[in-house]
Structures are given as structure tokens and as C-alpha cells.
Symmetry: C2
Subunit: 227 residues, 2 copies
């Protein structure tokens, strides 16, 4: 159990979907934290000192001890404030399924979606199709449920939460369509459920910033598209 | 807690380092299991049915329920047989560090080492240097300890165990040197500690099979080297 006296700080970047996860997890738990915005193009000494191996956000600092990697942080948060709003299910098999699907969604849908956004032409089309296939697997998983966690949001909802606000930005920036409401009606309904949940809707980045940052990314990898 | 009546099966492939992890975990826990060798070049209907998303080993089946992904399986095993030889540390911060280092080692050292093995020329040299850097980070981590888990082997020792028997094979197949005893004396000592541990030394694949399989992989990606 964490003591109220033990300070919690989060080094974060407003446009990072993996940082957003940590904020949602802390807010669902009702853990107070200090938010420290990091300039990822001009990294602070604090970040380099707290995460020397990867030099990446998010970093959670709790009682002066740093932890990196969003999913590692979320498991830590869940274990430390374990009596406040459990994020993972309680049964080992349900926990295993949750971890399995997070890994699948990160590799196939999130990473794939990002690559699709910065790509173009045949490469993009191929990637979009792969990501749609992944999305349809998630559709099967949530069919008949309000949230991936069941009646309440849980770890998987947090991990997939980027789909609700960032995927539309990636689709706009990449001139592509990944989430098709007619093929994924349950995911589409879930998007609305998440976006009307108080913890999620009060902790979303400004769309203009997301658009600007992701155009910058796409331009970096594909400058010819911006000439 | 798992009941003794609940059957445990492991679909595995002898040359896979991630399958080996699961076997070590089960043996450390003293969990009886049925070992089912899978022909990964001609996958069984059983595998396709149990892991339709990835069609990959390892798959653990416990009480007729399948679980895939080696690290997900190991967390499940640790949570299910939780009174028998804990694999993860007990404190959330130590658990977080363990998960952090496993992710680092998998991405930087294991995946990097495999890519180095199937590469050649400048690409290989670059990759070897990256992997050596990663290895030196692990050297700092284990300095002064018998195992990554401290006095006893733990989750991290299982996750890194491939270094003890498979890395020498990759080095031989790839005509490269990654683990240098003079730069990494603590890792080198740890290799001997693991290879003399009863659970590990009694559960290693035959070296000839590993050599044949990994030559096959290198040839697949780099056929010109075998002309």
C-alpha cells in the first residue's frame, strides 16, 4: 500500500498515448500526482537521469523511485494502490487473457496503426488491412460488453484507450480509414462509452496539438508528401 | 491455487528459447506437465486451435484453458501456483524492475542477438555492438549477485536463461562474439551458476539440434553465405 505522504510524479508528453495510459490509471485509482510535461525534442536532465536506458517518457516517480514503460508502471500502480479500483481482473486466467490481448493490440493495432499513418501507397494499404484485421479481433472480444473490463473500465480499456481519441487523428493525418463502424459496431459503441467516462473525457489532449505533432511525424518519415 | 487434478500441458518446440522459459518455470514450481513437441514447420491442428491469433508456441493448457506468450504464461504460473517457489519478487517496486529489465533484455539483447546471428557484414557488426552494450547493462545489474534474483533464481533468471546455452550457439552459427568474459565477468559467472542449477541443467535442448536449426534460420535469411 502506498502512503499518502509518498509523492507521485509523472514525466509525460501530451501527445504520447502510452503516457496517457498512466494518467488514466492514476486517476481511476484516485492517486494524486504531479504532472511534469517533457519536451521530447529537447530532453531534460531529469528524464535522462531517471530513465538513462531508454530516455523515454512515461516515467513514474513514487517515493523518489523511478519506473519506466507504461505497462510496467500500470502493473506497479495496480499492485501499490491495490485496494483502490483494481485495474487487472482478480483471477489469474482473466489476468493472463488481459495481458495477452494488450500485447496483441500494442503490436498489431497500435504499432501497426502508427506505421500506417506515416506510410503511403501500397505499403500503407497493406498495413491498414493488417490493422483492420486486428481491430476485428478486438471487436469479437468486446461484443456484448460495455467495456473490455465488463461493466467497469479496466486495464485493457486503459491500454486500448488511445483508439478513442488518437486513432481518428491518425486516420485524418494519414488519409486512411481503419475503424469502420459497420464492421466494428461494438468497438464504435465502446469508443462512445469511454469518451463519456469522467476519468477519460477529462484527461484528453487537445486535438490541434495531436494533429500538429502527428503531421510532423508523417512529414519526418515521408517528406515528399508535404511538398 | 491449482488443483493437482487439473491437467497441465505445454505445446513447445525444442529449439525455442521462449518455450524453454515456461518449462523452467513449471519445474521450479514443481508443477507436473505433459510436454507436447510441435513441428513449427508443419503446425498441428491442436496448435492452430489453441492459439489461432499467433499460431505460435509456447501454449500452456491448464484445466483445458489455453494461454499463449511466454511471459504471460510465466506470470500465470506464478500467480496460480503462488505458494510454490515465487518467481517474481514480492514487493511491487522490485516486481516493476524485474518486468522492466525483461522487456529491455528481450528487445535489445535477445531480439538483437537473433538479428545479429542471421546477419552478416556491416549490418551484423552494428547489431553485435548494440547487443554488447545491452549485455553490459545486464552486467551492471548482476554485479555482486549470484543470480539476477539474488541468492535464488527468479523470473529474470528464467527470462535471461537463453543466454547460458543458446547465445554460444548463435555466436558459433553467426561467426560472432557477443558475450566477452573480460567485459562481463559477472554474467559469465552467472552462466556457470545457471548451468549447474539442477532445474536448468536437466532441461536443456541438445546442442546439435540447436546448431542445425539456427543454421537453417541463417541460411533462410542469408542464403548466399551457404553457397
Amino acid at each position: 500500500m502506498g502512503s499518502q505522504k509518498e509523492e507521485v510524479k509523472l514525466l509525460s508528453f501530451v501527445c504520447s498515448p502510452v503516457c496517457r495510459r498512466v494518467e488514466w490509471g492514476l486517476r481511476l485509482k484516485g492517486v494524486d500526482y504531479e504532472y511534469i510535461e517533457e519536451d521530447i525534442f529537447n530532453k531534460s536532465n531529469l528524464l535522462l537521469q531517471l530513465n538513462p536506458l531508454h530516455k523515454k517518457v512515461p516515467v513514474l516517480v513514487h517515493a523518489n523511485k523511478p519506473i519506466a514503460e507504461s505497462l510496467v508502471i500500470l502493473e506497479y500502480v495496480d499492485e501499490t494502490w491495490n485496494h483502490q479500483y483494481p485495474l487487472l481482473p482478480q483471477h489469474p486466467y482473466e489476468r493472463a487473457l488481459t495481458r495477452f490481448w494488450i500485447k496483441f493490440a500494442d503490436e498489431k493495432v497500435m504499432y501497426g496503426g502508427y506505421v500506417a499513418m506515416i506510410s503511403s501507397g501500397d505499403e500503407q494499404e497493406k498495413k491498414v488491412n493488417e490493422v483492420r484485421e486486428g481491430m476485428e479481433k478486438l471487436e469479437e472480444l468486446i461484443k456484448g460488453k460495455r467495456f473490455f473490463g465488463g461493466d467497469k473500465v479496466g486495464f485493457l480499456d486503459i491500454a486500448l484507450g488511445w483508439i478513442t481519441y488518437l486513432l481518428p487523428v491518425w486516420e485524418e493525418v494519414g488519409c486512411m480509414k481503419i475503424l469502420e463502424a459497420e464492421k466494428c459496431p461494438a468497438i464504435s459503441a465502446w469508443v462512445n462509452n469511454i469518451l463519456s467516462h469522467p476519468v477519460f473525457k477529462d484527461c484528453l489532449p487537445p486535438k490541434e496539438e495531436l494533429l500538429a505533432y502527428n503531421h510532423r511525424r508523417r512529414k519526418h518519415f515521408n517528406p515528399a508528401l508535404y511538398n
